[in-house]
Amino acid sequence: MNGVVKQTEPVSVAGAVKVPTTAAGAERAFALLILGGRFGTVIQMAPSLPQGMSVSSSRSGYLAVWLLAAGTATFVSVVVWRSAKPLTPRGYALDAVVCFVVLLLGLVVVPDELRVGTWVGFQAAYALSVVCSGAAVRSTRVWLAALVAIVCADVAYLLPTLSFATAATLLGNVLTLVVLAGVGRWVALYIRRIAEDGDRARAQAIELGRRDEGRRAQLAIHNGAAVIRMLGDPALDDRSRALLQEEAQREARRMRSYLQGRDHVDPSLTPSGDPTGPVALPRAVRRVCDRFSDLPVHATLDLAEAVVLDEAAAQALDHALASVLLNVRDHSRAETVVIHADAVDDLASGVATGDPWVLTVHDDGVGFVADPEQFGVGLREVVIHQLRPHGMDVEVSSTPGLGTTVTITARTPS
């Protein structure tokens, strides 16, 4: 998650401070809002200090309450600035207690007639700044308790001024506290949720990207690893070694393309070297078979002569079919490998359902227990997952002792 924060493009606040659009960035934005509100309140309180001291019944008492409020607000501003996040629940509880005390002491040090509509009676504005500071606190219980306490203290502070003429104003001031606190908290929590969702989405995207990169790496090196392993077999005959060397060259080109950040394109797969041309299915299959001429492969492809693959599908099929035949060469000990292509689905229903085609690779080797959960990288990634984006479904059936059948089914593109 921290890595996500660092990778996120920060946005400018007031043309100066850069705040990233992450959950941590949202907390920092809250901190900046608290800083602005609290420090701004202190600045607004400052001009009225001399007047307040002069009209107060207790000059030193007024100064002490003013200093307590201003000092707390400054301290909170410093804390949130340095921590780049709102106050902790405990810190906010202390802040609310101080506010509660400032309001109640206002009953003593601020004349009744100056408590509404003047900065001499700064307590109401101070209370509002504290309530707003608690909008993003991470404890609803603390937030609610503090709000109730501050509202009660504010009511107590304003109550002596209550008259028919001031009632509406006083009620409005108290409701301002409640409404701003509620709306502020709802907005803060919503922003926090958006930011956290954004972080989760980014983390998921990174994880998907990482998986995709891993899959691409597996696709790029899987067949090559198999070829290298087979080339290392000291019992390899010269003919098989020559064929494997040819396959190794092809896989080396594929790996080099991957390392260079490019998709591998094999011009030999397309007619006349045209890198973007379509390829007939039998031709694409025969090219792979040619590289495995040491295997006892019998290919019957006549029934799919009309099937044409686009370049990307042909590439994917080439790689997947090579992976299947590498498995046959390496593991199956097959006496016969039959590759069969059919462009009409008459096996199941006897009725053609469009233009589907089926490519079957069957070997009469040792077989294995065909559990999709246990498929290795070759079958799972190189064969099944690589063909699926091109509309080709793969079914693998195998029985120990009876051989293996890989069935690739697709529809010709319209």
Binding site: P296, H298, T300, D302, L303, E335, T336, V337, V338, H340, V344, D346, L347, T360, H362, D363, D364, S397, T399, L402, G403, T405
Partner: protein, 258 residues
């Protein structure tokens, strides 16, 4: 099977597949092949080995199956019959022929069936597969390699070969994809023995079809050019010519209702 001057059927060696003594004759110009096969296949009884068909036909050895190489002409016997001429000469003498060759071109292999061969086995096949194929040919079956099975399926799908039933077509489709009887049994819900019966009927029908089909018809069905098969394909049997004997009472035919 014993040699006869005509095509009269003989009693089928019903136990041949199961391991009874199968009498084999080898015709191959390569001495190594002639002398090594008896050592490699001790389960079979080799009753003769010959460098060419002419010598073999003069000797008339007892045999259930003749293992025949396609290429018999060499500097030592430049006039020796070979290819489809050799197959026809041996089959017309009443022998069952299993071609044993490195030939892989499917049209040439199909032409061997058209000439009357009862089996085709590649020299790259394992000895166990060779022995199994020879036993099957001796038992009256027709052994067709995968390449020709694929060719047959194409002919069926293009309506050039229309004599197969739906079941036979299904079995042909499975065999063309390389499926074993055990695999097909699970998919088609038929016993393996029933499937073997269907396959035996398919191979017999295919063999007869090839023997009676003119190369021009096959060229048309396969999309080949006129005359492409002339160099390989034998003259078709004239109408009315009796086909080779059928083992009409084979055990699997009793289970046709499966």
């Amino acid at each position: 099977m014993s040699p006869h001057d005509d095509l009269a059927p003989t009693t089928a060696p019903t136990g041949a597949i199961a391991g009874d003594a199968v009498r084999v004759v080898v015709v191959d110009d390569a001495t190594v092949i002639r002398e090594s096969l008896p050592a490699l296949l001790p389960g079979l009884t080799f009753t003769g080995s010959f460098a060419n068909v002419e010598t073999m036909l003069r000797a008339r050895p007892e045999a259930d199956v003749v293992v025949l190489d396609l290429h018999l002409s060499n500097s030592g016997q430049p006039g020796a019959r070979q290819g489809i001429a050799a197959i026809r000469a041996v089959t017309e003498a009443g022998y069952r022929v299993c071609v044993f060759s490195q030939e892989e071109r499917r049209f040439v292999l199909a032409a061997c069936l058209a000439a009357g061969a009862h089996g085709l086995v590649s020299k790259t096949a394992s000895t166990s597969r060779l022995e199994q194929s020879l036993r099957e040919v001796a038992a009256g079956e027709v052994v067709i390699p995968p390449a020709v099975i694929g060719l047959v399926e194409v002919l069926v799908r293009r309506n050039s070969l229309t004599i197969l039933s739906d079941r036979q077509r299904h079995v042909l489709s499975g065999r063309a994809r390389g499926l074993t009887y055990a695999e097909m049994s699970g998919r088609l819900h038929l016993s393996e023995s029933t499937l073997r019966g269907y396959w035996a009927e398919v191979t017999r029908n295919v063999s007869e079809h090839f023997q009676r089909t003119a190369p021009g018809d096959l060229e048309h069905a396969l999309g080949l050019g006129p005359g492409d098969l002339l160099d390989h394909w034998p003259e078709p049997l004239p109408p009315g010519t009796p086909t080779p004997p059928r083992w009409a009472d084979r055990w699997w035919r009793l289970r046709r209702g499966h």
